[in-house]
Amino acid sequence: MTDRRRISGPSVGTAPPIFSSTIVGAEKAQLKRPVRTRKPSELRKIFLKTGVTPSASGSAYLELEFPSPSTPSSQKKTFLSPSSTLKLTCTIHGPKPLPRSSPYNPSLLLSTTIKFSPFATRYRRGYIRDTIERDLSAHLETALRGVIIGDRWPKCGVDVVVTVLEGEEDRWCGDELGGGSDGVGGVGGWGSMGVLAGAVTVASAALVDAGIDCVDLVTGGVAAVVGRSRSLGGKAQQGDDEDESFVVLDPSPPEHAEIGAACVVAYLAERDEITELWSKGDAGVPAEELVDQAVAAAKATRNVLVEAILETAKLKFPDAVLSTGKSGGDIDMTG
């Protein structure tokens, strides 16, 4: 059934282009795989800004640093992007009164939506919400529900809309045919974990921008158990893999040939609470360490969030922050 409300293109369907460089031998292609240059405990740089959509009551934009800043995308050499990044916008509408017909609700009714744009991933996505998007929306809802003080808005609703302009890839483009990063028959779907962590952080910033009361700032963090790339050692055998695997923070799936397990948390640093935990794959013994590392990633993200919110506050309430800024300066002097 075609979507009659949108323009749908040729009726026989179209195929995404196949690049000749992706059909050469897998071993040769492995050399081009992007390599993680950060330390395992280092996150990609995060750009976070609030107030991008003035017509919404709260909004924020989050972008992860593109791994190779030396070549901006305007001067890119190849159509195949080796690594992936994340670009998210979030808008918040409300709190607003629910329609009269709806039943009484003693606390704020939260509805969350995560929508991928058609150009978010390597293959074009449709406009109709798919199961991954519904799944991510449900995860985001649980992450935020534990933070918002809902009792303060009875009979009200709030809409949280996250639009993924560019999403993390599940695997490297060279693995599409070869099945690396569990592309064929494996667990897969690693990219959506990074998207969820970003969505939690960006929604948190937008919640503050909208002035909705929260118990704490929630941030998202990801960690993954990865194996060392086989192309590096070349002789890595099946048995060695378990010893060789280690935990990295903020993984970029294209950089890893093997991802064993990944974990996302939405974490409240002040209260030391987790509102959402989502783990995939077989972590084995280091499962607990995996959660701890995801929490560490969320803690590191919090610094960026706090800074972005301070900036927002300075714009919104110039007088109030000026005084705290002075006292902060004093503390610095004495300390």
């Binding site: 050499k77 190849t78 159509f79």
Partner: protein
């Protein structure tokens, strides 16, 4: 009591705007003090547009992309090429191909060849605008595309086709079959179209504060101007169509001109009960507040062809105020607006 008396009975402007929008805008356009200039509630003159800003090629997975801002309206447009194989097309249209390579090049400079039917019958251009991104409280996700979104998509498609912006020759992927041993002629077999590029033009409203059409069209134009399609060829051994991933081998689209859209609304305060005012105002580049108050709207699309301003399209609807003189006035403003867009578009093309 004393403190209450010292404060004059007054509300902030936002309250007036929400309670009595029409008199509020009228009071700005027609101030009681003749020394105050006549300005709109947003501080612009009636004929003043918002300055566009463009940022191109920031999306990784697109052949071309642009982010356009007009004041508080922000639009992202991404162009993606996908392949439509000629053998899949039922009832393929007959295409008159140039015989020789040399001819093909000279034909590109020729604007007279009619290739619109080829593009429209194959649906090679697929523009879709998505408003349900939470860009304004009126457009929330979870519903099918609103009437506004549907009509905008159709208007954009129609404008793409009637301005003949994109050449069919840029979208064709050609293949010359090898000479068979049977015919001994020196003439090689003719070129044939083996596939077409289909351009998916997806437009996302990030923030909406009026005038979605102008901003969306500007984003499409800028994205198309910066679109590079990969070099593609038919591989007879594998029997698939392959592309080169090198940008340097790709091909830019050669667009026919750069038409620019300018939207105006007509403010008729006399339509409201109790407002004694017979004059009307033409407001250029309306914001959301003004769009809500005005009924009649006009979109003028103009382009400069060899230094001469040409009207490419006029759309008008909703009222009876605009006549011949007003249309002339709007066209003049639209031509001025063309230069504003042209400056920013040219900057991004380098």
């Amino acid at each position: 009591m004393a403190s209450a008396a010292s404060q004059p009975l007054s509300f902030p402007p936002e309250i007036f705007a929400a309670l009595t929008p029409t008199p509020f805008l009228l009071a700005h356009l027609n101030p009681s003090n003749p020394k105050t200039p006549s300005l709109r509630a947003n501080g612009r003159k009636a004929s003043q547009f918002r300055t566009p800003t463009i940022n191109t090629n920031s999306l990784t997975h697109c052949s071309g992309s642009a982010v356009v801002r007009l004041g508080d309206t922000a639009v992202v447009c991404g162009v993606r090429g996908e392949i439509l194989l000629a053998k899949d097309i039922p009832n393929a249209p007959h295409v008159e191909l140039p015989d020789e390579e040399g001819d093909a090049i000279s034909n590109n400079n020729d604007d007279d060849d009619d290739d619109v039917t080829e593009i429209t019958s194959l649906n090679l251009l697929v523009p879709n605008i998505e408003l349900a991104t939470g860009c304004s409280p009126a457009h929330l996700p979870g519903n099918p595309p609103s009437t506004l979104a549907q009509s905008l998509s159709q208007r954009l498609l129609s404008l793409l086709n009637t301005t003949r912006l994109i050449r069919a020759s840029d979208l064709r992927i050609m293949y010359r079959p090898p000479t068979t041993s049977d015919d001994d002629d020196d003439t090689p077999p003719p070129l044939q179209v083996v596939a077409y590029w289909t351009l998916y033009i997806d437009i996302l409203m990030i923030s909406l504060d009026g005038n979605p059409f102008d901003s969306a069209w500007g984003a499409i134009l800028s994205a198309l101007q910066n679109t590079i399609l990969p070099k593609a060829w038919w591989d007879p051994d594998l029997e698939i169509l392959l592309c080169s991933d090198r940008v340097s081998e790709g091909k830019k689209l050669k667009l026919r001109g750069s038409p620019v859209a300018s939207t105006f609304v007509v403010f008729e305060p006399g339509r409201e009960k109790g407002v004694q005012e017979q004059r009307t105002w033409i407001l250029a580049d309306p914001d959301s507040f003004e769009e809500g108050l005005c009924r009649e709207s006009v979109t003028v699309v103009v382009d400069y062809v060899e230094g001469v301003g040409r009207v490419r399209r006029i759309e008008k609807g909703g009222g009876v105020v605009v006549g011949r003189d007003e249309l002339g006035y709007m066209t003049k403003l639209a031509l001025g607006r063309w230069s504003q867009w042209d400056v920013v578009l040219q900057e991004e093309m380098e």
